[in-house]
């Protein structure tokens, strides 16, 4: 079965949880921006959590299913419809052969993840299906979707959600349950976002005034932000004694401060190493929220200890394990 691309959207790429094991060669990890939504979408259709989903950005694609399929959409709200009928997010949806799924302009958040049961049938390159555009590798032919593409999907097990198969017989366009998994849309509805961070390796080198401003001021995400990094507008941050640092590793969520004093939060497509001082790193559990904030949104940084941040991470993984078990049982119904 294939997904026929009628319209590609602004930036629709296949991404999984990233390309690990090659950072020592300078190869960026890449992968999804909002890992939480990506994993939920996969779990809902009973794919492996690290299988590739289609990451949509700001304005979505229009896709035709050549065969019936089980899908899930999680993350930002792209007002999805099939035949003019709204398709609910954050739950499994069974669609008929020939259905056309229309994902419009994003009205909450900025990215969504489309999982299709069986998974996208694209080659694994350097251990991952993630699209890495600068090198033109991974994903679908190493690039973003274009109109006319035929995106292959592997065959899914036929016994998932038997109740939905029965419901589809009498449904108009698609069948889905009344329940949904908890989505992060509620978090996005706030105007001011709190992003927790752990002190960075060069935190102490920043002036006292800059350290104080970093946690008290509001920062705005500029238009010049993408999968590689979020450039922030706010107070100018300065080192007590200006100077370069020798290049060293950076990570997803590293907040680096170039000489112009305007912080950049490094995101999924970050480079493996950087040469600017790091004032902090965003707590992993807050990265999915940050990844959903579009340019123009504002945020504040709130300090958190490493220990607390890791506790939150382990807590979220325990919740994810429960979700995995719960959804496995639901898929039998």
């Amino acid at each position: 079965m294939t997904l026929r691309v009628h319209r590609a959207g602004i930036l629709s790429t296949l991404q999984d949880r990233g390309r690990y094991g090659y950072q020592r060669y300078g190869m960026p990890v890449g992968g999804v921006m909002d890992e939480h939504s990506h994993r939920l979408a996969n779990l809902l259709v009973r794919n492996a959590e690290d299988d590739a989903t289609l990451e949509l950005t700001l304005a979505g694609p229009r896709l035709e299913f050549t065969e019936g399929a089980l899908i899930a959409i999680c993350g930002g709200d792209f007002a999805p419809t099939i035949g003019g009928q709204a398709v609910p997010a954050s739950r499994p949806v069974l669609v008929r052969a020939g259905s056309v799924l229309d994902l419009a302009v994003c009205r909450l958040g900025c990215r969504a993840y489309l999982a299709v049961a069986g998974g996208f049938d694209v080659p694994v390159v350097m251990g991952s299906k993630s699209t890495y555009l600068p090198a033109g590798i991974g994903g679908f032919k190493g690039r973003a979707l274009r109109r006319g593409d035929e995106l292959p999907v592997q065959r899914a097990p036929a016994d998932l959600y038997p109740a939905l198969h029965r419901a589809l017989q009498s449904a108009e366009a698609f069948a889905c349950p009344k329940w949904s998994v908890h989505a992060n849309a509620a978090l996005l509805a706030h105007d001011h976002h709190r992003i927790r961070f752990i002190q960075g390796r060069h935190f102490a080198r920043f002036s006292e005034a800059s350290r104080a401003q970093f946690v008290s001021a509001e920062f705005r995400i500029t238009a010049n932000s993408d999968r590689m990094g979020y450039r922030l507008e706010g107070p100018t941050l300065a080192l007590t004694e200006p100077g370069d640092i020798l290049p060293e590793a950076v990570t997803f969520g590293s907040i680096q401060v170039p000489p112009d004093g305007k912080p950049i939060v490094l995101m999924a497509n970050r480079q493996t190493t950087g040469g600017y001082p790091l004032i902090g790193e965003v707590a992993s559990v807050d990265l999915p929220l940050l990844a959903q904030l579009p340019p123009g949104d504002t945020l504040r940084f709130e300090p958190i200890t490493l220990e607390h941040s890791q506790e939150l991470y382990l807590q979220r993984e325990r919740e994810m394990a429960l979700m995995r078990e719960g959804l496995r049982d639901r898929a039998k119904q």
């Binding site: 950072q23 020592r24 060669y25 990890v29 090198a135 020798l246 060293e248 790193e281 382990l314």
Partner: protein
């Protein structure tokens, strides 16, 4: 008891999923040797939960999954547990015999359309373009680290006369294969990328190939020599590369 090979080091967190081992404060070959030593040890005897080992000039980072770190007891968090394992590993290293470095000859066509900044760079240093080429191709460079892009090697050993601060306005598109100077380093752009280094030539060699194992030509500690070629050689070698 033999003297430990790594006597001084500092561990610090890089966020909640990475740990940095600092092995010095400089870009010396001596520090680089320690970085290589610890990197090779960690690759040979992987610790549970480590996703990536990323060596740099005087540090190396371990990216890890906090969920998969073995915790000695309930009171110890993933970072502290990993720091304990790393400390034990570092203290157990009593010797390092680095493999003989491999030397790569990298063909480069200097100047003209191949190196758009060669003349400007020569003028800035009051040298002829021929002299810049001579100095650049006479040195034996050491791969300090890989970073910035897949297969991009920071090459140390640039003649001090050629050191040039990075461009104040970086280019948005630097052609793949460009040989460039940035600060006291030189390097070869493996892909078409944005970049702020001064372009002095271009190599037809492919520095990154996702289908090869390893996918990059150069690794830490290797030596590089640049060999001047003509535009005709460039065309022929580029064709051979496919």
């Amino acid at each position: 008891m033999p003297e430990p090979f790594i006597r001084e080091y500092r561990l610090s967190p890089l966020g909640d999923r990475a740990l940095v081992i600092q092995l010095g404060d400089d870009a010396s070959a001596e520090t680089a040797l320690k970085v290589r030593c610890v990197t090779e040890r960690l690759l040979a005897q992987p610790l549970a939960g480590i996703l990536d080992v990323v060596p740099a000039v005087c540090t190396l980072a371990l990216h890890y999954d906090p969920l998969r770190i073995t915790l000695p007891d309930e009171a110890t968090g993933p970072y502290a547990a990993l720091a304990g394992q790393v400390t034990a590993l570092l203290q157990a290293i009593d010797d390092f015999e680095p493999a003989e470095p491999v030397t790569f000859d990298v063909p480069v066509c200097y100047g003209g359309e191949y190196g758009a900044d060669l003349e400007e760079l020569a003028r800035a240093h009051d040298l002829s373009t021929d002299r810049v080429i001579e100095l650049h191709s006479a040195a034996l460079y050491r791969v300090q680290m890989l970073g910035f892009a897949p297969g991009f090697a920071y090459l140390a050993g640039l003649d001090a006369q050629l050191a040039t601060p990075r461009r104040s306005n970086p280019r948005t598109h630097v052609p793949a294969g460009s040989v460039a100077i940035g600060g006291e380093l030189t390097g070869i752009y493996p892909l078409e990328l944005p970049g702020g280094w001064h372009l002095i030539g271009r190599s037809p060699l492919r520095m990154f190939d996702a289908s090869a194992e390893p996918p990059v030509r150069l690794s830490m500690g290797d030596r590089v020599r640049f060999v001047q070629i003509t535009p005709d050689d460039y065309a022929r070698l580029a064709e051979e590369q496919g």
